[in-house]
């Protein structure tokens, strides 16, 4: 149903209403607080629990990961690829550890599943790369954004 707003004669002329509108905009111009973040200089503050770029936690320079394959199993996006290997001391370790970040949905289930506290999600949210061969084991071991 078409509802017509009730207006008096003065409002129908619009002049007063237009002037009111002009006053609102000029008020915003001089006294309004700008809400924009000046990005490279200012950063938005995210929560500590923000799930960003991945890394593999290392202890004494050796990755915590034992290639137990729990994270690729739990991963709903199937973006983690691990090839397991054996160290001389018979310890299991990942020869290859790659994350297909384009498939990753940043759900954080790998972090939850990991028994060794190895795969972690950091606070970093600028994740663009200039080459395709990113997010391999070497990259993930660089401890970016280690908390």
């Amino acid at each position: 149903m078409l509802v017509k707003a009730k207006k008096n004669a003065l409002q129908n002329l619009y002049i007063v209403e237009i002037v009111k509108g002009l006053i609102i905009t000029i008020k915003n111009m001089f006294f309004g607080k700008t809400v924009t973040i000046q990005y490279p200089e200012e950063r938005r503050q995210y929560s500590e629990r923000y799930r960003g770029q991945h890394y593999i936690k290392a202890t004494n320079g050796v990755e915590n990961c034992t290639a137990c394959m729990l994270c690729p199993t739990v991963c709903p996006a199937e973006c983690i690829h691990i090839e397991a290997g054996e160290r001389p001391d018979k310890e299991k370790y990942p020869v290859k550890f790659e994350i297909d970040v384009l498939r990753c949905c940043f759900c954080g289930m790998c972090e939850e599943a990991c028994p060794k506290d190895a795969i972690k999600l950091s606070n970093i949210y600028e994740m663009s790369q200039q080459q395709r061969e990113a997010y391999d084991k070497g990259f993930l071991l660089e401890q970016r954004g280690n908390k």
Binding site: N28, F30, G32, T34, T36, Q38
Partner: protein, 362 residues
Amino acid sequence: MELSLNWIAVIAKVAVVVIALLQVVPIMIWVERRGSALMQNRLGPNRVGPLGLLQSAVDAIKMIFKEDFVPAHVTPFYFLLAPVVAVIPAFMAFAVIPFASQIEIAGQIIQFQIADLNVGMLYILSITSLGVYAIIMAGWASNNKYALLGSLRSSSQMISYELSMGLSLIGIVMIFSSVKLGDIARAQGETLLQIGSLSIPKWGIFLQPVGFLIFLTSAYAETNRLPFDLPEGESEIVAGYHLEYGAMKFALFMLAEYVNMTTASAMVATLYFGGWQLLPGMGWLLTQLPLDGLAMEWARVAFEVASFSIKVGFFLWLFVWVRWTLPRFRYDQLMDLGWKFMLPLSIANIFVTGFLIYRGVI
């Protein structure tokens, strides 16, 4: 000698006006972008130069160096002609606007007006209505339905509002008995009312308040600015008539729009706000200057140019201010306003003015 001084004056005036108009455009684009940003609680372009002032210059350089692309489906001749046709009348229209009174050099009176035509404001009305040809040409040659829709809207809008615009000026012509803008600006220096020490000048706004509102609204419609920017109507018809244009050809349309805005503001200032007549307080300031003779005359001219620029600047700002305050009209509302409200009102204004002149009130 006589001839040469006149020629120098004419060339100097043309150069000053054209250069000033070209400078107004980047400054206005900057004002528009920063002003709109601040009104919307943003910051706007603030990276290039102090306060982002060089943004327009950088944009101009970008526009010049972009590829001059002509789509395959357009009619190239008219497609390329349209931006030129848009710009030339925009600059031509400013020729009859007086931006200061006159000065006497070596026994010759030099008017600060490129051409004091005896058709005056009629010249501006006819030249600015040529601008619609450019828009039609652009829309038709683009061979694109949205561009054509935009240009058709533009033509109908311009025709509708030209009527009330022209009729609203009749009141001014009746009061000042002239269509020459120089005469009108000079006549507005007289005093209308004297209340104690406060004297109200005979500005058009005090004599023709209704005419002023009609003229201002029509000027917004004629320059295709919001709330009457249906020819562009981004949300409905992509970008309107300049949809297929890019690089400097688009920039020329932009230039024409802003120059048209400047001309419209200068018209409003000249017809309704005394043109180059000094602003309140400036006359007193002028008498305080320790100058005499020709230097004093030049100081007076400088003050007149300054007060004219302030008035034009205010109305240019009003264009921006209104644009970021009011939403766009719906098409039928636009036509209703033009034909059912503005046109009868402007005709009524003529009759009331005529009656008041007949009774000797004004």
